[in-house]
């Protein structure tokens, strides 16, 4: 993406020398589409404002929900003091962080320390450009939307490495190395599930992927074939690791490392990491909703066809319905993430690598190959128009059989073997960065 920007900047520079802006592909096309530049720029400004507002509101509510859910699961009350039922607690926390002193350690690499948060936040922020919220509600329906999403998601890795390394703090270094390993490994299963979906949709545009799933809910890619059904769960597990959520939260394990890569960050710089983390939760959940759960489609054929055909004021209503639909789906997945966080214990780094390289990676290869093969053999119309319903039943039935098989097996839960710390003789070297300095 940076290469693209450099190319764009370079071509813009050449254009300025020639003093013929319209000859450039970018500007010429833009002027052809929009004779006056003021209106689209205004719309963009509004778009930026709306999206930043959405992220902020989502993060405030998500932090509040997380505290309340954890409190509920541990028979506590959670925040109750600020505002009714503690609703304003997170807003008060944000205000507090804004007023906290900003400290840059003496030994830190100042430049990297300062631009680290910019990379982390901007990477997540750019993902919102291609996330659809309704038939017309999308900032930019790029024809390479999904690829763009995968590309900007990996900018975060660079930012984390900058921040953690520049801090010159041992805790930060340990957390960074763990986190880079984890983020980089789990990008592969995520990428392969993306490819499996693209092979079926035939498009990378987020709107076209969504539109391909309209109609009844058995048209969703989740039920498109039994293998994509598995693919959704692979994606969801991998996205838990991508967002550092439990049980994969060991890069920020409070009881082992103080706070992970942002140990040295204070005040507003820290809160930007925090904001990016919660925004990333929304991004991966909304992506899962778009790729597998029909995006802003409601799952009812008559509502979806009305949304497509509506015009004028009804079109506005249709967008509201779409926004509600994808918000429910994405927030439900976020709620599942929180539920998992307070249910599962944290796993060890060797287990994290085992899950990725030896479980998710072979499975996602299988999902890609077999889901494509299934698509080829059945061709989407084995029993005429009712084929999607059959596939839905096959997926659900297969999943049910699998679950029954799991339930039937007596699997003794060996907490000693699964969660004991590693013995010295089992470890070739220290699992983390060996500090030899």
């Amino acid at each position: 993406m940076l290469t693209g920007l450099l190319l764009a900047a370079g071509s813009a520079g050449r254009g300025l020398i020639d003093l013929d802006l319209t000859s450039l592909p970018l500007v010429g096309e833009m002027l052809a589409e929009h004779p006056t530049i003021a209106w689209p720029l205004l719309m963009l400004a509004i778009g930026c404002g709306v999206v930043i507002g959405y992220i902020t509101v989502f993060s405030l509510l998500a932090v509040y929900a997380e505290r309340k859910i954890s409190a509920f699961m541990q028979s506590r009350l959670g925040p109750m003091e600020v505002g009714p039922y503690g609703l304003l607690q997170t807003a008060a926390d944000g205000l507090k962080l804004l007023a906290k002193e900003d400290i840059i350690p003496r030994d830190a690499d100042k430049l990297l320390y300062i631009i680290g948060p910019i990379f982390v936040f901007t990477g997540v922020w750019l993902s919102f450009v291609v996330l659809p919220y309704g038939p017309d509600l999308i900032v930019a329906d790029l024809n390479v939307g999904l690829l763009f999403l995968a590309a900007v998601a990996s900018i975060e890795v660079v930012g984390v490495l900058m921040a953690g390394w520049a801090s010159n703090n041992k805790w930060a270094l340990f957390g960074t190395m763990r986190m880079i390993t984890q983020l980089v490994s789990y990008e592969i299963p995520i990428g392969l599930s993306f490819v499996a979906v693209v092979a079926i949709s035939g498009s990378l545009s987020m709107q076209e992927i969504t539109l391909d799933q309209q109609g009844w809910f058995w048209n969703w890619y989740l039920f498109r074939n039994p293998f994509l059904f598995v693919g959704f769960f692979l994606y969801f597990i991998a996205s838990l690791a991508e967002t550092k959520r439990a049980p994969f939260d060991l890069p920020e394990a409070e009881s082992e490392l103080v706070a992970g890569f942002h140990t040295e960050y204070t005040g507003m710089r820290f809160s930007l990491f925090f904001l990016a983390e919660y925004a990333a939760m929304y991004v991966v959940s909304a992506t899962a909703a778009v790729l597998f759960l029909g995006g802003w489609c409601t799952g009812f054929a008559f509502i979806d066809s009305w949304m497509m055909e509506s015009a004028g004021f009804q079109r506005v209503l249709a967008n509201v319905v779409g926004l509600t639909s994808i918000t429910i789906k994405a927030w439900f997945l976020v709620a599942v993430m929180m539920w998992l966080r307070w249910t599962l214990p944290r796993i060890r780094l060797d287990q994290v690598m085992y899950v990725c390289l030896k479980v998710l990676l072979p499975f996602s290869f299988g999902v890609l190959v077999f889901s494509t093969l299934w698509e080829l053999v059945t061709d989407g119309t084995l029993f005429g128009d009712w084929w999607p319903l059959f596939q839905f039943l096959i997926s659900i039935g297969g999943f049910g059989l699998l679950m029954m098989n799991f339930m039937a097996k007596e699997r003794p839960y060996d907490i000693e073997a699964d969660f004991r710390p590693l013995r010295h003789s089992e470890v070739h070297a220290a699992p983390d960065a060996g500090a030899r300095g």
């Binding site: 920007l5 592909p25 970018l26 096309e29 963009l44 930026c48 804004l98 007023a99 906290k100 002193e101 900003d102 400290i103 350690p105 003496r106 030994d107 910019i118 936040f121 901007t122 750019l126 450009v129 930019a140 790029l142 024809n143 041992k170 805790w171 930060a172 880079i180 980089v184 490994s185 990008e187 990428g191 993306f194 490819v195 092979a199 035939g202 103080v258 040295e264 005040g267 507003m268 710089r269 930007l272 690598m353 390289l357 030896k358 290869f365 190959v369 494509t372 080829l376 590693l422 013995r423 010295h424 003789s425 089992e426 070739h428 070297a429 699992p431 960065a433 060996g434 500090a435 300095g437």
Partner: protein, 159 residues
Amino acid sequence: MYFDFANVLVFLLFGIAFVILNVAVLSRLMRPTIRQPDKDTAYECGEPVIGSSWVRYDMRFYTVALIFIVFDVEVAFLYPWALVFKGLKNAGAPGGGMFVFIEMLVFVAILVVGFLYVWVRGDLEWVKSMPESQSGQGSGSGGTGERAKQRDAAPTARS
């Protein structure tokens, strides 16, 4: 179409501006700045800092990075294939979509062979047990191994 990418550019600039605005302007107006030499040291649980943190770290992280590069490039190559697969299948490519599918299968199979090689070689094992690696070397550093065994024997006996 190009205008969509102009949106991306504006969003990129806005994202950077948002961070700078918050950190360098909004927060600067509200936060105190009380300089103190101790505050500027790295946090090591309140102890004086020992040495720099910019040290060498474990080889295994490099292995993971190498595996990542191989598979990430593979995924990047699969995107164009996935994009045209549906069209070629519906357009009746030579040999039907099966030909296109087998092409992908060959590409994936080559990488899976490499993946299996790495797996069998044991490079995907995060934890490499010490007695094994020492028996592989066959040299006489058994003293550390013995001590490690004794250390491990103690907690087992207790439990």
